[in-house]
Amino acid sequence: MAKYRIPILIAMITGCAMVIREFIPHYPFNILNTTFQQWYMIIACFAILLGVGSLLTIHGQKISRRRPGWGYSVVLILSFLIITFFGMVGGISEKGEGFIGSGFNWMFEYMYNSLQSTMFSILAFFVASAAYRAFRARTAEATLLLLAAFVVMLGRVTAGEYLWSQLPIITEWIMDYPNTAGQRAVMIGIGLGIVSTSLRIILGIEKSYLGGE
């Protein structure tokens, strides 16, 4: 039971201390806040290392067991090792000039940059294909959504102004009122959800973050 009780106790004490800190920003609560922030940042750095370890383990296993697509894992590990090597050896040598000419920057600029942009730009083709096949005005709500999308899509580009000068004004209205109202409702819902979940964790009711059932 100590396996669960101790983490719940830690969460309870930490949570209460952070809540109290909001009302009493003096010693010792103000110190606690700074300390927790530093701990969080250190843990976040270690989380990156953990991620790297997990990535190498999973793909290492995939290669050793010759699972389907293991060739991609070889490419991934090799790319990871090469870019890490260039990052650590001469990645940043001296102010300004050293970085721009480095091998790491060359790979970032001409490989990583281009590859990510290519992957993201493919989205345009899928959006166009989906627009042709899936955006159907089947119901009144879907028709309304489609019309709003038409106006906003045209109003957000310069061509819209050429087609009808009032389009950007209508677009602004849609963004300012119906969109803001809907988004605010979602945000308030999320906010209340966060508060209730936090309270459940602090009070030891919510235990799913400890793993298991």
């Binding site: 700074t34 922030q37 530093q38 969080y40 940042m41 976040a44 750095c45 989380a47 990156i48 940043i92 001296e94 102010k95 300004g96 970085f99 721009i100 920057n105 970032f108 600029e109 990583y112 940059n113 990510q116 942009s117 992957m119 993201f120 730009s121 345009a124 083709f125 959006v127 166009a128 294909s129 627009a131 042709y132 096949r133 955006f135 159907r136 005005a137 489609l146 038409f150 899509m153 045209l154 957000r156 580009v157 310069t158 061509a159 819209g160 102004e161 050429y162 950007p168 602004e172 963004m175 300012d176 969109n179 803001t180 988004q183 605010r184 945000m187």
Partner: protein
């Protein structure tokens, strides 16, 4: 197969080809469509313009290369404007790749165009893990959050950072972000908690989600996608990649709308025909 069926089962490679042409052609042969800045963008321009010369502006590059065509020109435009107004720039990133993109932008704009000197007029603090905690921590101390800059130089040895302890020494925060961590965290932890003025730049898809922050006044300005970037380029008088890209985006949007219209027309014609066939079969 008649025309309706042909259109309904159109090979998607034709759609891909048309999209490719509508994107490539306007980039080769610019249409020079006029860009009119919207109030959401103008307010940001006005705010930076009215800051006293030498104000300290914190710019956070919270994005990755995948969105550089949209957010890259936005970030560069902000740097241009800050340099034009002779503001001091403190750069940082909450996304690992952001620090490299920021360094590149600072070097090509601030250093090469405006002769800004590193450490005196601008600095790149680099990436720091910790998301929203980094933002909160900066409110307490810059040096505790970032002991060194991007080049591992201690902040105590950087003249620009000598007068900066926490947010109280920062006049404006600009966040160019592609998602999480991004604008909402800056609004919550720097805007609300420390009363800092924030300008946001985001991708077009996330603009509707962030618009309430602009409507409520929690954001001074919100630049959404390529259009926001193009509008800012127009305002600072430096038309660049975003202004060129707007032609392509305009034509592509019109084409997508045409696709939706054609798709719906064929859908209804097919539905009506099926209904007619059903009636005929029932009669016979």
């Amino acid at each position: 197969m008649d025309l309706i069926e042909k259109l309904q089962y159109l090979d998607r490679r034709w759609i891909f080809l048309l999209i490719a042409l509508t994107v490539i052609l306007p980039l080769i042969i610019p249409l020079h469509l006029k860009i009119n800045p919207s109030p959401a963008v103008e307010s940001g321009y006005k705010f930076i313009d009215e800051l006293p010369e030498g104000s300290k502006v914190l710019i956070s590059y919270d994005f990755e290369p995948s969105v550089v065509p949209e957010l890259g020109p936005m970030g560069t435009s902000f740097i241009h404007h800050c340099c034009q107004r002779k503001h001091k720039i403190i750069g940082m990133a909450l996304w690992p790749a952001g620090q490299v993109l920021l360094e590149s932008a600072l070097n090509t704009v601030a250093r090469d165009v405006y002769n800004y000197r590193y450490g005196l007029d601008y600095v790149n603090l680099g990436f720091m893990a910790g998301n929203q905690v980094v933002i909160t921590s900066l409110g307490e101390s810059f040096r505790k959050t970032y002991p060194t800059d991007f080049y591992n130089t201690p902040l105590s040895k950087i003249p620009l950072m000598n007068g900066i302890t926490n947010y109280s020494n920062i006049d404006l925060i600009i966040d160019v972000s592609a998602g999480d961590p991004g604008i909402p965290y800056w609004v919550m932890y720097a805007g609300t908690a420390y009363g800092k003025k924030i300008i946001g730049g985001c991708t077009a898809v996330s603009a509707p989600q962030l618009y309430p922050y602009y409507s409520s006044g929690q954001l001074v300005s919100l630049l959404g996608g390529l259009k926001g970037a193009a509008e800012y380029e127009t305002l600072i008088g430096k038309p660049g990649p975003a202004s060129r890209g707007m032609d392509a985006q305009s034509v592509a949007h019109v084409l997508i709308i045409l696709f939706v219209i054609i798709g719906n027309i064929t859908f209804y014609l097919d539905k009506r025909r099926q209904k007619m066939r059903g009636k005929q079969a029932w009669k016979s």
